[in-house]
Symmetry: C2
Subunit: 329 residues, 2 copies
């Protein structure tokens, strides 16, 4: 691979904020980074493109100035809400980014793609990106076969096994305990009251909120904390692990040759630790016996830098796609 | 029971609109009725009390005039959102209703209570009111024991087995089929595409809506239609039936004496017919062997009339309760 001229820029925009990194692939130094905890808005028409530009451009110019560079060799913007961005904005965004940052090559990626690139780089396999939501993405990197996708449909239609899914199931178990219904957990009821106050007030607190999935997901750590001593909580994590493995199996490319497919889990759900990860590894062994679980190498910001680096070197093998990974030369 | 002087008024306010009936318990004639398909708003602070009065008062005056009566002997207003109405509005509402309608006695009831009274009258037992949402309410009518309640927590925290629950599970199965995940139903995918268009567009259609539970519930009839030939759809209805029976069992009063407790199912979910009701009766037999399933005698509007009639005759035995059934003499 030929070394690109100039630094490359990676952007990761998600629910927990906006992060930007600039690095020069020809040197071994750590990237220059900038971050903001304020997330860029995402609506039914995808990410708020003007809001994204407002956040990215000044910070990117500062990073370029700090690196003593006039322009980027390549840029990769990975963002939640990129896959559902309307074509009109998709047509505007690349032009502005290229003009303002002097980037010769540009990629607009769904956050699931930068999660993939961060976790596995440009190796074939499947990555489950799980936080408040959950999506599995896989590829065999063979030209023409594209991405295999499973779930990522949001907290009412799917995201099975996600933080919102686990937290919602935990709160349902708390309400069951309150009612004396089967499937209730007094331990989760106690944790719900400790976190949110009397649970009779939960509906009035939860339903008017705009960030309902995040509120639900905020209860997931309590489910993990109870799982050691509470069978209902442990059952929720076991079911979540099953859903995670099912999504991984659906998005995993078929076995190819002699080497096992790599499967990695990445994202905030990893923070639940062993109470979830133990069952996940068991479910993966059962449902994806030919895959090899590996730890994620890096996060989505590192994934964006990897995509930008590959772009600059004309060495991008991850599949381009109209929604998940748009490449502009 | 002594016969009350003057007609009694019943009100049923729910998601499908506002209905009012006036009847004279001393005569056997059918009630005078009025209805509007426009529902009264319900927010986190309960029902929109001014909106309720705006809908009820003119129509009630018209019904009184048509009956040639000057005032009501008693009024019962049953409404979704009554149980969560703030105390301030609860203090205002009875005064206005009594002053405007000349009612000596007044009851403000949760819609679950009027559903109970419509289904079982003033007999002990348990009633599951199931439409878009689901709640089970039971009583043994013994003084001091009050209502037993299960579920009714809304589509994210519960309402297990409701229309929204069934529809949501059906749409999840459709998305699973699209992804090639385990648990998918090609038949439900086909029905979802027929109803909503390409299901990739479902998240953008569903999540911005205010009436998400109603949108989810609109898919429940498709699940019932597929259940005869699709194992996934049949499994969803079987699981819903289990949840319905679990809620009924939790709210059912303990066996008392020699007669079996009556259990009734009421509400829009009955329209799903045998594909749901068959499993419901099996699950009730398994989980509530000492209860006797009976058909609901009447709907919540008839329940409101029954409560008003009992109030007028000073014969109300359903338990008064600060949230579910407030009685003002």
């Amino acid at each position: 691979m030929s070394l690109p001229a100039g630094p490359v820029l990676g952007v990761d925009s998600g629910g927990s904020g906006l992060r930007i990194a600039l690095t020069d692939p020809r040197t071994a130094g750590p990237p220059l980074t900038w971050s903001s905890p304020v997330p860029v808005g995402v609506g039914p028409r995808g990410i708020d493109a003007p809001g994204l530009l407002e956040g990215v451009l000044p910070a990117a110019r500062d990073l370029l100035a700090a690196a003593g560079a006039a322009h980027c060799a390549a840029v990769c913007v990975g963002a939640a809400g990129m896959a559902t961005l309307g074509d009109d904005l998709h047509a505007v965004l690349p032009g502005v980014l290229r003009a303002e940052l002097g980037a010769r090559r540009l990629a607009l990626a769904a956050d699931a793609v930068t999660a993939y690139a961060g976790a596995l780089g440009q190796r074939p396999g499947v990555v489950v990106a799980a936080g408040t939501g959950l999506i599995a993405l896989g590829t065999d990197l063979r030209p023409g076969t594209g991405w295999r996708r499973a779930d990522g449909w949001g907290h009412l239609l799917g995201d099975c096994g996600s933080g919102a899914w686990i937290g919602r199931a935990g709160l349902e178990a708390a309400m069951r305990a309150l009612d004396g219904r089967d499937g209730g957990s007094p331990a989760l009821l106690q944790r719900a009251e400790a976190l949110f106050g009397p649970v009779c007030g939960l509906p009035a607190m939860l339903y008017p909120r705009q960030d309902r999935p995040a509120v639900l997901a905020s209860f997931a750590p309590e489910v993990a904390r109870c799982a050691g001593s509470d069978a209902v909580a442990a059952g929720i994590l076991r079911a979540a692990a099953g859903h995670i493995a099912v999504a991984a199996a659906a998005a995993c490319p078929p076995p190819g040759g002699t080497s096992a497919r790599e499967v990695a889990l990445t994202g905030g759900l990893l923070h639940l630790g062993e109470p979830l990860l133990g069952p996940v590894h068991e479910e993966l062994r059962a449902r994806l016996p030919h895959a090899r679980p590996v730890p994620a190498q890096g996060d989505p910001l590192q994934g964006a830098l990897r995509v930008a680096t590959a772009l600059a070197a004309d060495d991008l093998t991850l599949p381009a796609d109209g929604a998940l990974l748009r490449v502009v030369h």
